[in-house]
Structure formats: C-alpha cells, structure tokens
Amino acid sequence: MEPFFTRYRNLLVLLVLLAAQIIGLAVQVRRTDSGRSSYDIADGPGVRLIRLWANALVTPAERLIHDAKLGVGSLWTGYLDLRHVHDQNQDLQKTIDRLRLEQASMLEDTKQGQRLQALLGFQEKYIYKTVVAQAIGTSGSDQSRVFYLDKGKDAGLEPDMAVITADGIVGKVREVFPHSAQVLAINDQSSGAGVILETTRIRGILRGNAAGQSQVVGVMADPRIKPGEKVLTAGGDQIFPRGLPVGVVEKVVRDPDRDSFVDVIVKPSAYLDRLDEVLVITSTEPRFSAEQDQDVATSEALKGVEAAAIKEQQKASQIMAERLPGLTDLNVPAAGAQAAGKPGEPGAAPGAATPPVPATPPTPKLLPAQHADRYSPGSYPAVVPAVDAKPKPKQNPVPAGQAKQVPVKAAPKPGDPAKPRRTQ
C-alpha cells in the first residue's frame, strides 16, 4: 500500500501552502472601530522584510530600464531635436519676467499676511524643502495604485511625506526603502486627502474608486457644485500643505449607499498615469526657504520699481473711479423724463432737456407667476396704505351696502418716509 503522504503529496502541498498564506493574511488584517476590516496600515516586521526583498529584486531592473529610456530620451531631446528651442527660450524668458513682476507686486501683501498671522498666532506652513525623484515602477496591479520612486531613505524620504508635481498633488509616501520609496497615489481606494472646493468652500475627503478615478466622498448634495470647479487641498490632513491644486470637478454622482449624499468625481490636475518626475515635500516651515527668499529678493530687485509703479497706477485709477460719478450713457433717457412723459407727448415739459444719467446694468425681469398670490410681483399696487390692526376712529364711515374703496397713491412724494406695511 502506498503511504498516505506519497499518495496525497500534491494535495497536501497545496493545502499546507494555502493554510500558511491564509494565516499570514489573518495576521495582516485588523478590525477597525467601525466594525469593518482593513489592511494594517503599518506592516509588521516580517511583511516589511518580504516587501524589502521583492523591492530589492525588482527595483534595480526597473532603474536600469528607466535610465536607459532616459538616456535615449536625453540624447534625442538634448542633441537631435533642438528645433524651436530659441523660440521656447524667449517665451520662457518672457514668462519668467511676468512671474517676477507678479511676485514683486504680491510681496507686500505676503509680508502683511505673515505679520497678521504672527499676530493671530496662526502660522501658515510653506513648502520649505523638496526632493526631486523619478517614478520608476508600479505595483503591477490595478487594485493597488502605488508607484515606486528612485529615491529612498538615503535622500531623506520618510513615510507620510506629500508627493506633488507642478500640476497638482500626486500622493503620499507609504513605505521607504534604503534606495527607493513606495508612493500611494490619490486615486487608490485606500488613499485619503482633505480637500476643499474652491468656490463653494465645501470640504471633503478625496479617495479613489475601482475605476481609478479620484472622488470626494461624503459630501452633502449641493446644487452649487458644478463641473469645472477647482479642488484644492484643505491642509487638515497633516500631509498636504493647504491650497495645493488637486483637480477640477468632473461630475457629481449620487452616493449609492447614502441618500442626500453625493460623490464628486474629480479630474486630477496631475497626470497620475504618466508620471515621470515628482517632488517629495520633505519639509514645511512657517517661513520661506533660502531659495525662495533669494528668488523673491531677485524679483524685488529686478521688478520692484516696475511693480510699485503699476501698483500706484492701479491705486490712482481706483481713487479716480471712486470720485467720479460714473459712466454716462447719453442714449439712455432720463428717469424723470420717463415719469413726466416723453418729449413731444402730452404732459411733457416743452423744451425740457434730458440730463444724462448714469448707466445702470439692466434689471432682470421676473417671469410671470403661474399661480399668482398676494406675494407675486404685480398682483398688488405699488404702494398700499397701511392697514392698522387696531380700528381707527371712524372719520368717513362708509354707508352700508356701498363698496369700500381703498385709496391708492400714485407715487410717493419725495421726502415721505416709507410707511411699514402691516399684515394681520
């Protein structure tokens, strides 16, 4: 008779491997306070070791491929494809000049803001130091939207650091290895970032869905939320500094689980699927960095006088605008003339000249109400005499059987105080 273990060797190996992995999974998953399960955010030492091995095996090959691609790319862009470089250079120079001018003009406001923040005891944190890194690989799974950077602990990276591009936020550093780091993208299902809608000031949490879209979840239905509205970081998550661009509202869909809540689908500003170079914010401070200070000083030195002149000009224009009565439109007839009658019409004063009046924006006309009531515009006379709640002494009593006529004023006399209208 064949021994048991030899006969069922295949099945036993399968069962042992499955059991070991299931036990391993049970260790890594924990029950949250809400009763739901979630992956343990902090990997245990054993799990971390496995990740380290896998990373050490894959990253060098990925780095090699990436460097080769960059080498070929730089050969092409740096030596061969140099058409229009001069024009681009000029355009960039113009852009720098414009930005320097803007920076110099905003310098005073910035300093004032900082002084006020210091007075209030509130300190806005600025991006103080960043590390440039290259995205070299992914997880290889659409269920796990993470990617790998070519910089790690050796470059000063640490978990929970924000990763951004010039376009917008990208994600946060999740795991740091000696020479590489794993970044959790904002469109992953387990990510979370505090965001705010720019116009409506509605706050929410940004996370990903199964399709890889970013969405702001847990938002009360609000008709003011429209596609195209900008979404910014709110700064409350202790990871992303406040005010960084996140994306724009793409559409609003109803939350399938909760009534009166909506999910705001956001189109990210950063190209999450085409990342090459990213910035890792390694430090935020309540002051500008030395580079930023130097940049501001340069802008002030180069464009400070010009910015001050523009500001003075703007101030003078503002003062003039305040003092002047307003723009006049000679084609618009006077309000007084309209009330008295148009020239040539009966009642019009002969030879009355129509003085110019300030041009006013057109007043929007209300549509007629379908079911008019006493609140509908036009259903009541312009001015109705006040009806006192208390009966007044009868001066001219109306004889019984005679219809009561309510006196209506044609127009209020100038200088008459408007009487309050009482309702019973």
Partner: protein, 173 residues
C-alpha cells in the same frame, strides 16, 4: 513493441528547460508587470506572472512544482503592492496546481486548449481574489468585472505570443 506505462509516458512528455529560463522568465515577468503599466498609462489588462505560472505548470505537469511556482510569483506580486501579502499568492497557488493537474490529462501541445485554459484560469484567479478580499477578509473593495474580463483576454493574447516563443527554449533529447 514497447508499451509505455502511464508514468513512463508522462516522463517522456514532461518538458525540460535550461535552468536560466526557469530563473529569468519569472523574474522578467515580474519586472515587466511592474514596469509596463507606466508605459501603458495605467492600463493593467494583463497578468504576466500568471501566464508564466500556467505555462510552466502545463509544461512540467507537476502539481507540486506548479503550486510552488504559483505561490512564489503570487507572493512576490503581493509584496510589490500595498495590500496584504497572500491574496495573489493564494490565487496563483490554486492556478498553478490546477494547471499542472489538468496538464496531466490533456494535450498541452494544442494551442487552443492552452489559451482557453489560460483564459479560464485568469477569471478563476480574479474570482479567488474577490472571494478572499470580500468574504474571507471582509474588506470593502470595489470591483469591476469588465476589467477582469479584459485582463483574461489580455492574458490569452499574451499567451498566444509567449507560449510558442517559450516552446522553442525547451530542451529536446
């Protein structure tokens, strides 16, 4: 005339490959699986480690080897994600075992059968992945079966190209 017994016939049909192929092909599959999505802008409609697992399991016809290879590649894939290690491992362990067990009973030279098997095992892996996450672990995971179907089709297409290429590397007596 010599009549071959089942074990002898199996030995004759077992494919053998250079040791370098055993080492390089799975590693290349893992690296490409991690790198190609960057090139394809995030469209991960393939699972190269699964294709390689199925190929070697079918060729070797050894359930133990197929199981071990599936478990190793699956765990490796898990380690590159930020999810718990073992979900892909379990799915590919089962896939490797089934592929090798079926490989004993079918004609693995037939491309259509291999591609069909690849397609079905891809869908099965997706099902196991979903089962582990939703039922076994009770995780709140959104799911798209269309994506999984596309992934199964992608695996079959890749297998249609890769299997004949790998067939050329086998050692023939």
């Amino acid at each position: 005339m010599t009549v071959l017994g089942l074990s002898n016939r199996r030995e004759l049909e077992i494919r053998r490959y250079p040791i370098l192929i055993y080492a390089l092909v799975p590693l290349t599959a893992l690296v490409l699986q991690a790198w190609l999505p960057r090139l394809l802008h995030g469209y991960v409609w393939f699972d190269l480690p699964l294709v390689v697992t199925v190929y070697f399991a079918l060729g070797r016809r050894n359930p133990v080897q197929g199981t071990l290879m599936g478990a190793g590649l699956g765990l490796f894939e898990d380690a590159l994600t930020h999810h718990a290690i073992g979900v892909n491992g379990i799915a590919k362990t089962v896939a490797g075992f089934l592929a090798a067990s079926v490989g004993v009973r079918i004609d693995v030279e037939n491309h259509t059968i291999r591609l069909t098997l690849n397609f079905l095992l891809s869908l099965m892996c997706s099902g196991i992945y979903l089962f582990i996450n939703r039922i076994l672990l009770g995780l709140d995971l959104e799911w798209s079966w269309v994506t999984e179907l596309l992934k199964a089709v992608g695996n079959s297409v890749i297998a249609a190209v890769l299997f004949p290429l790998l067939d050329r590397t086998q050692i023939r007596d």
